[in-house]
């Protein structure tokens, strides 16, 4: 019998196809996030949510050298909101929201943030430094 997928799993393969995406459920549970583990060899990023976890694979590599210097790492979960308003036109305003999960810490005295930005229903994501 096929093993059931763990709840809360998000997998981004190198082709950027999400097997299952629950990032909208991550945000309300951000207070329950316990830890972040980064595996550079597989370029994976794990966020533990009280025993459940998210996995993001593939895409741009975050160098181990940079991450190994991160002091006092802290998980951040951000809902990024946009309103697009027309100027000199008649289109209706549009609202968007996307979610970012990431880590924040101090590198050589400088506050640094690394985010995986998830958008377009989970089909697109990229690492971003800072917000």
């Amino acid at each position: 019998m096929q093993q059931a997928e763990p709840e809360w799993i998000v997998t981004f393969k190198d082709d950027k196809m999400a097997r299952k995406l629950e990032h909208g459920q991550l945000y309300p549970n951000r207070e329950r996030i316990e830890s972040v583990v980064v595996f550079w060899d597989t370029n994976s990023y794990y966020v533990n949510v009280t025993g459940k976890f998210f996995i993001i694979n593939g895409g741009r590599r975050v160098t181990s050298e940079r991450l190994s210097r991160l002091e006092n790492p802290m998980v951040l979960c951000v809902r990024r909101n946009q309103i697009q308003i027309p100027v000199n036109g008649s289109s209706a305003p549009k609202k968007f929201a996307l979610y970012l999960v990431g880590i924040q810490g101090v590198i050589e005295g400088k506050e640094t943030q690394l985010f995986a930005e998830i958008s377009n229903g989970g089909k697109d994501w990229e690492w971003k430094e800072g917000r």
Partner: protein, 177 residues
């Protein structure tokens, strides 16, 4: 539950100012009203010509389950057909050297703004360019609350051709944590 956030446009003199939540557009014109039709209130092409300023803010009605709203940005995300000759959009938004402005007692003006003096960026700025509580690094941590003012103005010159300007899209972005 995410925060309840609105864009609010303010029109009129300070003593009788009218707030409009979620304006349908930010069309510029020769009247200090929200949601105007540019053809009804055209901006006259002239040396140092200008529309009425637009004064808007982010209004956080409720934080929901969030605890922090920050990283407020504004930029033109779509120039559409681009600016016509002599046209431009200015703002008070900046990523450095920021200082908050106060709503004028007489309300928005139709001459060149003394606060919206920076060209609005046409790509997302790297950092916040609109302040909260007077600082770009500011945050809203209790609701209800407003951001600092965002001032916008469409400008033109004597050489700006008659007729409608191209539609553009302004994006306002903020983060919730």
């Amino acid at each position: 539950m995410s925060a309840t956030v609105e864009i609010v446009e303010t029109n009129g003199p300070l003593a009788s100012a009218v707030n409009t939540a979620n304006p349908v557009n930010l069309n510029f014109g020769s009247a200090d009203v929200t949601g105007l039709v540019p053809a009804t209130y055209p901006v006259t092409a002239a040396a140092n010509g200008a529309s009425y300023e637009k004064w808007i803010r982010l209004y956080v009605a409720s934080l929901g389950t969030s605890s922090n709203i920050d990283n407020l940005k504004i930029w033109i995300s779509d120039l559409g057909g681009g600016y016509v000759v002599g046209e431009g959009i200015n703002t008070n938004a900046v990523t450095s050297g920021y200082s908050a402005v106060s709503y004028p007692s007489g309300g928005p003006i139709e001459t060149r703004s003394t606060v919206a003096i920076n060209v609005i960026p046409t790509s997302q700025p790297a950092g916040s360019n609109v302040g909260i509580a007077g600082a770009l690094a500011g945050a809203i941590t209790a609701a209800p609350a407003y951001s600092d003012w965002i001032v916008l103005q469409d400008i033109c010159t004597a050489s700006t051709p008659a007729g409608p300007a191209n539609q553009k899209t302004i994006t306002i972005q903020w983060d919730e944590q």
